[in-house]
């Protein structure tokens, strides 16, 4: 995707921000950056950006088409769609950050344990990772939801549980590599502590691929959250979520088609933005990695 930079044979003015320079060189990554920043700004500044309260019910004005008062119209309970969408971004971001952070930490921990610990433990953990990857993700998610009941907390657990195997695998591979390498031996000779031997060389090498994985996972997480909320199994109403907005639009599709149009748009734009940005980052940091699957 950074074909413009490639073709000219030169990277743009690197100066103080080489990464930014590389990203801005490619038009698609530029647009992606705009979309992602837009998403983050909307999510963070939601209370100031939304014209109305997202949960204010006003049945008298239900199912109104877009107008000056309500730029995106109102839903079946008279709530302002624009406000709901703006707050929906907030929900999406919050859940994405929390679940990815938790998954990352679990993955880091288990990866290190698997790589550095006894063989039997490693074997067991690998079996766990493979099993989790063997399940169609939605099945696993639904099973957990049945057990724990639907809700925001469950959602976070589900996402973390389905995401951590890929991080754990990465960390494990890196740990295993470090485990047998020379500076480990050197560290041992210097009687350095186990923690020092493992962490210090490990972290810098892991940060790059890990960031790529994380950034590629964020759009997936947003989609999963939206999807489960769409099925009524994600965040509980009246918390606005892009998924539930879409569901409301779906049930009113004949009466108010604009709901579907506007409800789906932020989801599409956000995931497109993150995906292209991830591509750009990947091209910059490590062109060998592959892009993710569709959902």
């Amino acid at each position: 995707m950074s074909s413009a930079a490639e073709a000219s044979g030169t990277y743009p003015d690197r100066q103080r921000f080489p990464l930014l320079g590389a990203l801005l060189a490619d038009p698609f990554t530029c647009i992606a950056l705009v979309l992602v920043v837009g998403f983050l700004v909307t999510a963070l500044l939601a209370p100031w950006l939304a014209p109305y309260s997202p949960t204010k019910i006003d049945v008298l004005h239900k199912l109104q088409a877009p107008s000056a008062a309500h730029w995106f119209g109102t839903d079946h309970l008279g709530r302002d769609l624009l406000s709901r969408i703006v707050y929906g971004a907030r929900t999406a971001l919050m859940i994405a950050i929390v679940s990815v952070a938790i998954a990352g930490m679990i993955g880091l921990l288990l990866g290190i344990v698997a790589g550095y610990g006894p063989r039997w433990l490693d074997g067991l953990l690998v079996l766990v990772f493979d099993s989790l990857n063997s399940l169609p993700m939605i099945m696993f998610a639904l099973a957990i939801i049945t057990v724990l009941g639907a809700g925001t907390g469950t959602l976070i657990v589900v996402i973390a549980a389905t995401s951590f195997p890929s991080y754990a695998r990465l960390i494990r591979a890196q740990t295993l590599a470090r485990r047998t390498s020379d500076y480990l031996l050197a560290g041992r000779l210097m009687a350095a502590s186990a923690a020092r031997i493992v962490f210090i060389p490990l972290l810098p090498n892991v940060v790059g691929p890990l960031i790529i994985l994380l950034s590629m996972d964020i759009p997936v997480v947003i989609m999963v959250e939206a999807g489960l909320s769409f099925l009524g199994l994600g965040v509980r109403p009246p918390t606005p979520s892009w998924g539930s907005i879409l569901y409301d639009g779906y049930t009113s599709i004949r009466a108010a088609p604009y709901m579907v149009v506007f409800g789906g748009l932020p989801l599409v734009l956000a995931t497109l933005g993150f995906t292209f940005l991830g591509e750009g980052l990947r091209d910059y940091l490590d062109p060998r990695l592959q892009a993710g699957e569709p959902s």
């Binding site: 079996l127 639904l142 639907a150 779906y250 579907v260 995931t271 569709p294």
Partner: protein, 316 residues
């Protein structure tokens, strides 16, 4: 080949067993006992007792696990908490619909995606290649249920070309086929882009290899080089990823079935989740996992057959 096959199947069974144990153990994680949870606010002591007995929860834990395995191996996955119908029956009734949907989507994605990828390679460097490239990445990013809803809006509601709901009349092939178009397309949409991209990347790599030069030096036409000499090798990683992605297709099927109100595994399981019908959920998950593991094994074996180099040295 045989040793590898057995090894893969063995691994698959191991994974399946692990999943079964994990699923069953999860029941005991539920705060409060499962019967109360399943019944919700309607839990009278009597109903609770009846349900507990029916679910076998009054027996010791070890007995429950053994019973479960014993039953599972004979095909008995428990009973629907509400209707008392065997779970396996429910799943078998719903499965064909989902399989048809998934396979149709996969077939469509391959039939469109692979040629598109090849076209991209043959016309590499041109505008056509760039356009296909951008579109490929874009469509991957859009979730299938969003595609489903938008296509529903455009084709079913606005244009009224195709049915919005259901799977068509039983016995009427034409109406069933028509009802299949939008849902299958919704699932296939992202995959077309993904497959085209995979095929292109794979092909570009293969086309640079020396044996392609040999074929060219004998004057073989480009179409033959692409389709016979390059594609057979390039398709291998694509098959592998598609097999892995089958799980993803099944996930998409759940959502798409919800959007188009189609009967199938998706509807079965989401209803079960909403009513906390754990036996149905568990049974469905197990069967789907078994199917998924089998597909992965089949794909691995297919790859081993297509690429004779790998057979002896497969790391599994």
């Amino acid at each position: 080949m045989l040793a590898y096959t057995l090894k893969r199947i063995g691994l698959g069974l191991l994974i399946l067993t692990f999943v079964m144990v994990a699923m069953y153990a999860a029941v005991f994680l539920v705060p409060g006992d499962p019967a109360t949870v399943a019944l919700g606010p309607r839990a009278t002591p009597e109903l609770k007792r009846m349900l507990t007995e029916r679910m076998g929860l009054d027996q010791p834990v070890w007995w429950q696990i053994v019973e479960f395995f014993r039953n599972a191996l004979t095909g008995n996955l428990g009973y629907d908490v509400w209707s008392n119908r065997p779970v396996s029956t429910l799943v078998m009734e719903a499965l064909p619909n989902t399989l048809i949907l998934g396979l149709t989507a996969l077939a469509a994605a391959l039939l469109i995606g692979v040629p598109l990828g090849c076209l991209s390679v043959v016309k590499r460097g041109t505008i056509a290649d760039a356009v296909i490239g951008v579109l490929s990445v874009s469509v991957i990013a859009v979730p299938s249920f969003v595609v489903a809803i938008y296509s529903l809006l455009v084709f079913a509601v606005a244009l009224r070309w195709l049915p919005a709901i259901g799977a068509g009349e039983a016995g009427d092939f034409a109406s069933q086929a028509r009802a299949l178009i939008l849902p299958a397309f919704a699932i296939a949409f992202g995959w077309i882009g993904y497959i085209a991209r995979m095929v292109r990347a794979s092909m570009m790599e293969v086309m640079g290899e020396p044996h392609i030069r040999t074929a060219r030096s004998f004057g073989l036409p480009e179409w033959k080089i692409v389709s016979k000499y390059a594609l057979r090798i390039a398709i291998i990683p694509t098959i592998s990823l598609v097999a892995v992605g089958l799980g993803s297709i099944l996930s998409s099927a759940v959502f798409v079935e919800a959007v188009f109100a189609r009967p199938g595994i998706g509807k079965l399981i989401t209803d079960a989740v909403n009513t906390r019908n754990y036996p149905v959920v568990m049974g469905t998950v197990l069967i789907m996992t078994a199917i998924y593991v089998s597909i992965t094994i089949a794909a691995d074996l297919l790859i081993a057959k297509l690429d004779p180099r790998g057979r002896d040295v497969f790391r599994g």
